[in-house]
């Protein structure tokens, strides 16, 4: 099972700034282990952010994103108390969602 994300969402005027730390190996599929065998690719391909169910971010990711990725973005039209939910999907089909209230 994957570890929870750390999400912070802070309202600033009419904008909400979201900062996310995700726990993921982000294996590119290009590395080899000590025995010379290819380490299979395992990385996040899709990140979706919603605010009270409304989609505010949709991103297609690839193997060039770092391990334990950090993502920050801002969107308009959010307010204190709104629920920001982040969901990622990886190459193994695994999905993880975490939610915070905008502070």
């Amino acid at each position: 099972m994957s570890d929870p994300m750390r999400i912070r969402a802070v309202a600033n005027g009419d904008k909400v700034e979201v900062k996310i730390l995700m726990s993921h190996v982000m294996e590119t599929g290009q590395r080899k282990d000590a025995d010379g065998a290819v380490v299979p690719a395992h990385y996040i391909v899709k990140v979706v952010g919603t605010c009270n169910g409304r989609e505010v971010l949709s991103a297609d990711w690839g193997p060039s994103v770092s391990k334990n990725p950090y993502l920050s973005f801002r969107f308009k039209g959010g307010a204190k108390g709104d629920k920001v939910k982040i969901t990622w999907t990886d190459t193994a089909g695994e999905q993880r969602s975490d939610e915070v209230s905008v502070g």
Partner: protein
């Protein structure tokens, strides 16, 4: 110097890259700046938080044959007190009769409170991708609770003084195929390895700069690295025999560094290149 000799010397210097040194020094500064900038960007968003969160969950979870959590773990300030505990470690513990650093003390708590065998718990001492270390997570959690606290190591117990003396001696002890000591790289100002400036660890200033930021998230490895990891990797770089986890030498060196850095304000877990 005759002209022909000067020309040959210049040619040799060009060929050997000696003249490129000036460029290398500039690159050094810009690399340091870039790392500092990168750290700035992260600010409070150090991925070490992922380890802290995992450690916090582990601390409160009833686990092991005794189905106990670690809330009764005594890290030196009384059972369950973690705020500021790391700022006063390593220290002597009456129940084990040993000087222990944070990591070995956590092992004591896990084995005695939860009944998890030492070898099982230490199977993954240092995490690597999917192989996650519980010890590192717990370490990150406890360390973070000492942020902003000054290092205090009075060395009241003779065993603590002995650990310090041992660490100080090992720091200067030259050994191995390269005849290296810790002091070879960390005993003078202005040394570097590749492009990384090395802190001078036998001065309060250098020791504080380094010690107060470890354990740290290592960007290039995508892992949180503990003090025990840092020391054993220094030993590997010196081509010395593998440093045993929790050994007298490991704890002695930690004590020497911590004491030298005394008064420094903890900012760990930090973030490193």
């Amino acid at each position: 110097m005759n002209t022909r000799f000067a020309a040959r010397l210049l040619y040799t210097m060009l060929a050997s890259g000696t003249l490129l040194l000036a460029g290398a020094v500039r690159a050094d500064t810009s690399t340091q700046d870039a790392i500092a900038e990168y750290r700035e960007m992260f600010g409070d968003d150090n991925p070490a938080e992922l380890w802290q969160a995992r450690g916090e969950a582990l601390w409160h979870e009833a686990r092991g044959p005794q189905k106990a959590n670690l809330e009764a773990c005594d890290l030196g300030l009384g059972p369950g007190v973690i705020a500021g505990a790391y700022a006063q470690l390593p220290r002597w513990f009456a129940d084990t009769g040993q000087v222990q650093d944070l990591e070995t003390r956590l092992v004591t708590c896990v084995t005695s409170l939860q009944g998890i065998p030492r070898d099982d718990f230490l199977k993954v001492k240092f995490g690597d991708g999917e192989k996650k270390s519980e010890l590192e997570a717990l370490t990150a959690y406890v360390v973070a609770a000492s942020r902003g606290k000054p290092l205090t190591l009075p060395l009241k117990h003779p065993a603590e003084q002995a650990a310090f003396d041992l660490g100080k001696a090992v720091f200067r002890y030259r050994a191995g195929p390269h005849d290296f000591a810790c002091a070879t790289c960390h005993g003078e100002p202005g040394k570097r390895i590749r492009l990384q400036e090395l802190p001078q660890l036998n001065t309060a200033l250098g020791a504080r700069e380094a010690y107060t930021h470890w354990p740290a998230y290592r960007i290039s490895q995508g892992e949180l690295r503990s003090m025990e990891w840092r020391l054993q990797d220094c030993f590997r770089q010196q081509r010395l025999p593998q440093l045993k986890f929790g050994s007298e030498v490991a704890i002695g060196l930690t004590m020497y560094l911590a004491k030298t850095a005394e008064g420094g304000v903890l900012a760990a877990p930090g973030i490193k290149r």
